[in-house]
């Protein structure tokens, strides 16, 4: 079972739900929690532990200016504008390169281009609790491509029986990459016009990817009518509602876990997981 926690809007409580769900389930079974919000990973703050960190690299082209005939086949091939061939030199823009390797294939005899590995970030693995494996991807500052880090982090969890992926906010490539291949998806929202606006977008993305969706309303003030109406219209189940409470906010902002401080919440998160399993068509 591979479950994604996404939201559309930032700050709705994705990591809060992911951390508490993983904590609760880890009390009874092995859980792998993957922080796919690689531009700003923060799950390790809930689960401090010594981690093993390895570099994530991507191949980038290196031009041999002596062998290059400046034929421009590489430039014509590159859909991202990463290579510009001038009369007597080639300019390479690493931040535009998507590491597809096409330039090395179209270079006549591959003579003038070879690939070298370039570091773009890291993945860290730790075991903060006996039954909990935490994998955190982290993108280096200034690097624009989050997707290869997310792919590496997810690969490290492949084969694990129960995987929970915390996504980045938004609906762009990092979210798509995280949702891809998941059996179900929890969308965490808040009952504000902004929360609902972005929830619509997130529902659209998950639906297009064919990932079954369930909703969690966080920081509910009891006036959730607009969100509930949207969910009814789109046949989406509100699987859990977390109230707007000062104590919950205080626990969260200390970096603690609601389910550890107030164990009565474990039942609600265990029930949330059962609903997710049902969504995915599993047992």
């Amino acid at each position: 079972m591979k479950l994604a926690i996404a939201s559309g809007k930032g700050g709705t409580g994705k990591s809060m739900v992911a951390a508490n769900l993983a904590y609760t389930l880890s009390l009874t079974e092995p859980v792998t929690l993957v922080d796919c919000d690689v531009e700003e990973p923060n799950l390790h703050l809930f689960f401090p532990a010594a981690a093993t960190t390895t570099d994530v690299t991507v191949p980038v082209p290196v031009i041999d200016e002596f062998a290059c005939k400046h034929c421009r086949k590489c430039e014509d091939f590159c859909q991202f504008g990463a290579l510009t061939v001038l009369e007597s030199r080639v300019l390479f823009f690493p931040e535009l390169c998507h590491s597809c390797g096409g330039c090395t294939l179209v270079c006549p005899k591959g003579a003038a281009i070879h690939e070298e590995q370039k570091r773009i970030g890291t993945v860290s693995i730790s075991t903060p609790l006996p039954n909990l494996k935490l994998i955190s991807g982290m993108l280096d500052t200034g690097i624009p491509h989050a997707v290869p880090i997310i792919r590496t982090a997810k690969k490290l969890a492949s084969g694990d029986p129960l995987v929970i992926c915390d996504t980045a906010p938004g609906t762009s490539c990092p979210v798509v990459e995280t949702l891809d291949g998941c059996d179900a998806c929890i969308l965490v929202t808040e009952s504000t016009p902004f929360g609902l606006h972005d929830l619509r977008l997130a529902v659209d993305v998950a639906a297009r990817l064919g990932v079954p969706i369930g909703i969690v309303i966080n920081r509910s003030d009891g006036k959730d009518q607009a969100t509930l109406a949207f969910c009814t219209d789109h046949d989406l189940e509100v699987m859990m509602t977390i109230p707007f409470e000062r104590e919950i906010a205080a626990i969260q902002s200390r970096g603690d876990l609601l389910c550890r401080i107030r164990p009565e919440w474990q039942k609600a998160f265990a029930a949330l997981f059962i609903k997710c399993s049902a969504l995915s068509g599993g047992d």
């Binding site: 590159c78 991202f80 504008g81 990463a82 510009t84 001038l86 300019l91 823009f93 535009l96």
Partner: protein, 110 residues
């Protein structure tokens, strides 16, 4: 000498465009006789990495100077490497206004 002006339309009366890579048109003026040619920018609606490719359009057309509102970092690197001089015009006038300022040598080189 060929001078390129970024423009929103196809004529000298068209408003000058502030952006370089996503400018709808490049108006290339021959300074010797004032004749011009409008080139539709094929990358105006491109997804990303349009700057260097738009710069390549100028290189292919043998342009020696560019007048635009703002040129991005990657495009600037290509234009500089190709020896194309860059001048800033963002007064909100037409291509003709920008051309007049260029000929009076009142534009700042960037």
């Amino acid at each position: 000498m060929k001078i390129c002006f970024t423009a929103q339309g196809e004529t000298l009366e068209s408003p000058a465009e502030d952006r370089f890579g996503r400018a709808p048109y490049f108006i290339v003026v021959e300074s010797e006789d004032g004749s011009f040619e409008a080139i539709k920018n094929p990358y105006a609606d491109g997804g990303g990495g349009v700057g260097p490719r738009a710069a390549q359009v100028l290189i292919e057309n043998n342009v020696k100077a560019l007048v635009s509102g703002q040129v991005g970092g990657n495009a600037k690197e290509v234009l500089a490497a190709a020896g194309i001089a860059m001048y800033t015009y963002k007064a909100g006038g037409t291509v003709k206004d920008a051309f007049d300022q260029f000929t009076k040598n009142t534009l700042v080189r960037s």
